[in-house]
């Protein structure tokens, strides 16, 4: 297990370097400088700015500087939010995104797995068809369609829930963002769980358990759930990425001051270091979480360790 874990960790390093290099090159391949504006600055001022941000150095040197900064956990200064470092901006914004993302993921797993298991147990019945119909719809409809429609219905028309974000609001302000973010994942996880649960329930060891007189609830809990969860576990990587992507939209719609909003703002303002920093941060996060999923997978299913 230790060997497998170490191999996985070592294997993630090239991916991370690839991401950093790719993102860095893309930003620096941009035509025109980050400080080009409508009105031209005097040449001396431009030279001073370039020197202050080390933009006058050759590209390889800048890259080495950036990576060595990263190793010290320093993402550099923001180009647009004067006097703020990218680290500070991420530190203020990320907690919001983390809270909403984690809640959405928990909700998706809870409801997705239960609904999928229920559909598998009642295969072919009306309940099964309802769950699957909902799931196909949920997969197809994007977050940025669901979110405004729910806001329109529940917040603007019925006025049950707050439409926007306020720092002083109660738990109610979390409901709409978390639910919209979780919906597509609920749909996908329900489908996955149903398919793998049907597969597992058809195996011999489940029949044996039935023959021993165990109740359905016990069989599901003790015998079927663990093997049936393997496909869901391997979907966790893409799910995390999808939730991060979705949170960009959700934060934009609900006005949550999270990382996604900073990212979009940065993109629209051409704040290169901020955008680059957030891409690197997100990529590191996704790769690290994928690593955790891989290691968990190895712990649950020992066969994969020897592949």
């Amino acid at each position: 297990m230790l060997r497998y874990t170490l191999l996985r960790i070592v294997g993630a390093i090239p991916t991370l370097l690839l991401v950093i290099a790719l993102a860095f090159l893309m930003v620096h391949a941009a035509p025109g400088g980050p400080f080009d504006d409508e009105r031209a600055l005097p040449a001396e001022v431009e030279a001073n700015i370039a020197a202050a941000y080390h933009l006058d150095e050759p590209l390889p040197k800048q890259f080495v500087r950036y990576v060595s900064g990263l190793l010290r956990g320093d993402l550099g200064p923001s180009y647009r939010y004067v006097d703020y470092s990218v680290n500070e901006l991420i530190a203020t914004a990320f907690p919001y995104s983390l809270r909403i993302g984690a809640l959405a993921m928990a909700l998706a797993l809870l409801i997705g797995v239960s609904a999928g298991t229920l559909a598998a147990l009642r295969q072919g019945t009306a309940l099964d068809r309802v769950v699957m119909g909902f799931s196909m719809t949920g997969i197809s409809i994007p977050v940025f369609v669901v979110a405004p429609v729910l806001v329109l219905l529940l917040a603007v028309k019925l006025q049950w829930l707050p439409a926007g974000w306020s720092e002083t609001g109660g738990a109610g302000r979390y409901i709409l963002p978390v639910v919209t973010l979780a919906l597509p994942q609920i749909a996908y996880i329900a489908r996955l769980t149903r398919a793998s649960m049907i597969d597992v329930l058809g195996r011999d060891f489940i029949r044996t358990a039935h023959a021993q007189g165990l109740g359905t609830a016990t069989i599901i809990r003790v015998h079927a759930l663990k093997p049936a969860m393997l496909p869901v576990l391997s979907y966790m990587g893409p799910a995390i990425a999808a939730i991060l992507t979705g949170s960009v939209v959700v934060e934009e719609i609900f006005g949550i001051p999270g990382l996604g909003q900073f990212f979009v703002r940065g993109a629209l303002n051409r704040d290169y270091t901020l955008v680059l920093g957030i891409v690197v941060f997100y990529a590191t996060l996704i790769i690290a979480l994928n690593l955790v999923v891989d290691i968990l997978y190895g712990a649950i299913d020992p066969r994969v360790r020897y592949r």
Binding site: M26, V149, G237, T245, F263, V275, I286
Partner: protein, 271 residues
């Protein structure tokens, strides 16, 4: 067969909506750029001038929606073709050559899978100033991974089949084997996956346009229309609901169509 019916229903709907998008702006007396500040946020009416109402600048939303569907569909189809070409070439080479080359190529695909592609697309949009042509390429470039995997798996199994062996025994050249014997057998699965790539491309395009990073005014797309609708929803909910519904329907139909086609080809392939 129910799969067959799904294919027919969704296929007909998609065809109808495409025809409407192509013909609609031509029938309507309005165009998609002319603003009319006397007629802001007019509600939809069948008998009046504006079937889907007007937007915040008084532009006709029927024509804008139809135009948006054109743009969305165009982006999706071109992006899917880009991913088709990359994915099929990559997958076929990996599968046919096999061995160490295959291992390295697939390892790269696994690595790329772990990347948060959408963020790279946004980065690309920032750097290259939302170039319209680039949207196609960027979306295509992120969607070829699945195609490459599927094609590689299929090629790998086809390569070992008797008819390929027979062709090789009779002295057919490698290139000819790939193009005449393997490629036609990949057709079915490739069609299915193109159908499933299109909604993904639509999703990415409308996601970008929704954030204001994709198609730029006065051009429009379904995502951009949803975005504009969100800003007006308290005064004019139709401006949000019409493009949102159409976008959802189109995405759903492509997903169901792909699923139905997959069932069809699976049924044909299994004896």
């Amino acid at each position: 067969m129910s799969g067959n019916r799904t294919v027919k229903v969704t296929g007909t709907f998609l065809l109808a909506i495409t025809v409407a998008a192509l013909v609609g702006p031509w029938i309507s007396p309005n165009d998609y750029v002319t603003t009319n500040l006397d007629q802001i946020l007019v509600s939809p009416s069948v008998s009046g001038m504006h079937w889907f109402g007007t937007d915040g600048l008084g532009r006709d939303l029927f024509v804008r929606t139809m135009h948006g569907i054109r743009v969305t569909m165009l982006v999706a189809v071109v992006a899917s073709l880009v991913s088709l070409v990359i994915g099929v070439a990559y997958g076929a080479i990996a599968g046919f050559v096999g061995g160490r080359v295959d291992a390295v190529m697939m390892r790269l695909v696994d690595t790329l899978y772990a990347l948060p592609f959408i963020f790279f697309v946004i980065l690309l949009m920032v750097v290259f100033e939302r170039n319209f042509f680039l949207i196609f390429v960027a979306i295509g470039a992120i969607n070829w991974l699945d195609m490459a995997r599927i094609v590689r798996g299929q090629t790998l199994s086809l390569r070992e089949r008797e008819f390929v062996e027979a062709a090789r025994l009779t002295g057919v050249s490698t290139a000819r084997i790939v193009f005449r014997h393997i490629a036609p057998n990949l057709m079915g699965i490739v069609i299915v996956y193109v159908t499933l790539t299109i909604p993904q491309a639509i999703l990415v395009e409308s996601f970008l346009s929704f954030l204001g990073l994709g198609v730029q005014e006065p051009q429009t797309s379904l995502g951009a229309l949803v975005d504009a609708g969100v800003n007006q929803m308290e005064r004019a909910s139709f401006a949000l609901l019409i493009p949102a519904t159409l976008l959802a329907l189109i995405l759903m139909c492509f997903n169901f169509l792909g699923d139905g086609l997959r069932d069809y080809f699976d049924a044909r392939q299994s004896p």
